[in-house]
């Protein structure tokens, strides 16, 4: 890992990049504030504790909450972190500040358009709404502005990735035989995964949803748009997670007082996510008719393989943190935990986020299992799960990481460490209340995406406790989470307004215990890994998509015929794949 910025602060060395990071963080944090407020309204509304909106507006709030937090907050923060990481680890500024501002501007414009369309749902006379939820596939239809805004946002992320690849290319000219610095390696592999996976949603939005919302085509094939969404909808989970992983692998060990345990293991993990993230999306569609059970089984199997990089991460990060604790004098099997720097909100927040991610991983395995998924499908269990993953592993890591990163790009000291510590612990406790109750409510059969989950002549039952207790826990948890966000924004705002400091934070990142020297150079062959990822996607999706198009009323639904050439192409692919499989099976047998 390069340790370039050890001598001077990031903001002094790379002022243009620091400005880009600050702009990205600003939009991320504004979105976090609005999205968290919407979350509080939802939590109080559906638990019937306090209802300040009409139930019909619940879906406007829900869409705003999902889009602003799961897309805008996370990805803008990711862009800020990645821009910082590439400049820092390559020890060079971006090739063109103007180009960097172009992608920030495009993403911001897209965000504004999509947000205006969503908020338009509160004003019926406006004739503009986008109550399509974060999962914006057909048959729900939004105003064209919503889809156009999202398309601009996605293209903006593509340009951001191009910015980082250009930096890497320029660095490579003068460092022909060197290994890719670890942070840049993480950024590039994540962006390759993002390019591969966003193709699905780009096709869905540009070729189907925008023309459909504009009235240029009469209908779409709903299952096709759903499948294209989930083609992107699962890898986006890893797009959220990878900046958190980058911080866990490269910053958390330093905060703990130690070093990363193994650079090669970190590279293997990011490559496995590049390969395995995309060919799994169908596991979100276990209950969709129109997709053969065999394809769902393959998606489930691929999903279980994803446990490998997650478990490798658990081992590597915990080993690194334990090393740090022992460097600080920690001893014993577990007593070393007491030697960790729990006063530091950046460390404590990331450590708590990692601990909750373990719980989220376990509930994720339930989601991924084809048979047991039927028990919790579309219940409150699912939001309970992703509030542990994106809502805590990612969001809490991003907030905790901000306590270390924001001072680096503003040149000011953190306003208050005690408030920061209280904030991350409040998030942990709030999420324990809310997410645990959501999981339990899901097991009781309470549905998700419902404004009023109370039915006449029917009562949900829990094996232990009562539904009332669960509702109180969800409301209490949601309130604590909102207060935690308020504390965070308050702390960050006052930090950015503070006086400049010569050394606002110790930004030095030490070398890993086991560096990249001994690992195979093939790990850095990005072109080869991209090719393998593409082949896996083709194998996983060609036949399901062909079946969906042929059996689901064609490309545009509504019974419109598939053009003969396209149909013949599908037949050719199906025959070739079947023939190849039979040949392979014959060899194996």
């Amino acid at each position: 890992m390069a340790t370039a910025s050890g001598g001077s602060e990031f903001v002094d060395k790379f002022p243009d990049e620091a400005a880009i990071v600050k702009a990205s963080f600003l939009i991320a944090f504004v979105s976090l504030g609005i999205g968290a407020f919407f979350g509080l309204i939802q939590a109080l509304h559906r638990t019937n504790v306090l209802r300040v909106i009409d139930s019909a507006d619940y879906y406007t709030v829900l869409t705003g909450h999902g889009v602003l937090l799961a897309i805008v907050f996370t990805i803008f923060f990711l862009c800020g972190v990645f821009h910082w990481a590439v400049a820092r680890s390559l020890d060079r500024p971006a090739e063109s500040a103007l180009f960097s501002w172009a992608w920030v501007g495009l993403m911001t414009t897209g965000t504004v358009l999509a947000t205006v369309a969503i908020l338009g749902g509160f004003v019926p006379n406006l004739g503009m709404s986008a109550d399509v939820l974060f999962t914006f596939y057909a048959p729900l239809q939004a105003h064209p502005i919503f889809y156009i805004g999202l398309a601009m946002f996605i293209v903006g992320t593509w340009l951001a990735g191009a910015d980082w690849f250009l930096s890497y290319r320029a660095w490579r000219k003068n460092h022909e035989d060197e290994r890719i610095p670890l942070q840049t390696f993480m950024v590039l592999t994540t962006m390759i995964m993002w390019y591969v996976s966003t193709l699905g949603v780009a096709v869905s939005v540009v070729f189907f949803l925008i023309p459909w919302s504009l009235g240029l085509i009469e209908s779409v094939n709903p299952l096709l748009t759903r499948t294209l969404f989930w083609y992107f909808g699962h890898p986006i989970v890893y797009f959220w997670l990878m900046p958190a992983y980058l911080l866990w692998y490269t910053v958390l060990p330093k905060l703990a007082g130690g070093r990363l345990f193994s650079d090669p293991l970190a590279r293997v993990v990011f490559l496995l996510f590049l390969l395995l993230s995309t060919p799994v999306g169908i596991h979100h569609q276990y209950l969709d008719p129109g997709i053969a059970e065999g394809f769902k089984f393959i998606a489930m199997t691929n999903t279980m393989f994803l446990l490998l990089p997650s478990l490798l991460t658990a081992f590597t990060v915990v080993a690194s943190v334990e090393h740090g604790a022992r460097q600080r004098g920690g001893e014993g099997y577990l007593r070393w935990l007491g030697a960790l720097p729990w006063r530091d909100p950046a460390f404590t927040g990331m450590a708590l986020a990692g601990a909750m991610f373990a719980a989220g991983g376990f509930s994720g395995m339930i989601n991924a299992g084809m048979n047991i998924n039927y028990l919790i499908h579309n219940t409150l269990w699912v939001p309970g799960h992703f509030h542990l993953t994106v809502g805590t592993a990612v969001a809490l890591t991003m907030m905790a990481g901000s306590y270390w990163l924001v001072p680096q790009v503003t040149g000011t000291k953190l306003y208050s460490r005690p408030i920061g510590l209280l904030q991350v612990i409040m998030w942990f406790v709030g999420m324990v209340f809310m997410s645990n109750a959501m999981h339990r409510a899901g097991l009781a059969g309470i549905p998700r995406r419902t404004a009023e989950p109370q039915y006449q002549n029917f009562e949900f039952l829990t094996p232990i406790g009562s539904i009332f207790e669960l509702r109180v826990q969800i409301a209490l948890g949601g309130t604590l989470l909102f207060l935690s966000v308020v504390l965070f924004l308050f702390n960050i705002l006052l930090t950015s307004l503070g006086e400049e400091s010569d050394r606002p934070v110790d930004s030095y990142l030490p070398e890993p215990l086991s560096g990249p020297e001994g690992s195979p150079r093939v790990l850095d062959n990005l072109a080869m890994w991209t090719g393998i990822a593409a082949v896996l996607v083709v194998l996983a999706y060609t036949l399901p998509l062909a079946g969906i198009i042929q059996n689901g009323g064609g490309l545009f639904g509504g019974g419109l015929p598939v053009p003969a050439t396209v149909s013949a192409g599908f037949d050719l692919v199906a025959t070739t794949v079947t023939s190849a499989f039979n040949t392979l099976w014959g060899v194996v047998a």
Binding site: W342, T348, V429, V432, P463
Partner: protein, 64 residues
């Protein structure tokens, strides 16, 4: 090991999931714990932590 404010906060934080799922764990052994029992146990834990912090926490004579 000194019981700092930060360590005490962490212990309180981790006591919450334990308290919430205490009835589930008790259920595995066919023990039905009422909600009030869980509240009392959590309160006793917090009181114990408070006492320990007073005895061995930052600024206490024992810690010094």
């Amino acid at each position: 090991m000194k019981l700092t404010k930060a360590r005490a906060l962490i212990l309180i934080a981790f006591s919450v999931p334990v308290a919430i799922e205490l009835r589930t764990v008790a259920g595995f052994f066919n023990v039905e714990l009422p909600l009030i029992a869980v509240a009392v146990i959590e309160f006793l834990f917090l009181a114990l932590l408070f006492v320990l912090y007073g005895l061995y926490g930052e600024g206490s004579e024992s810690a010094a």
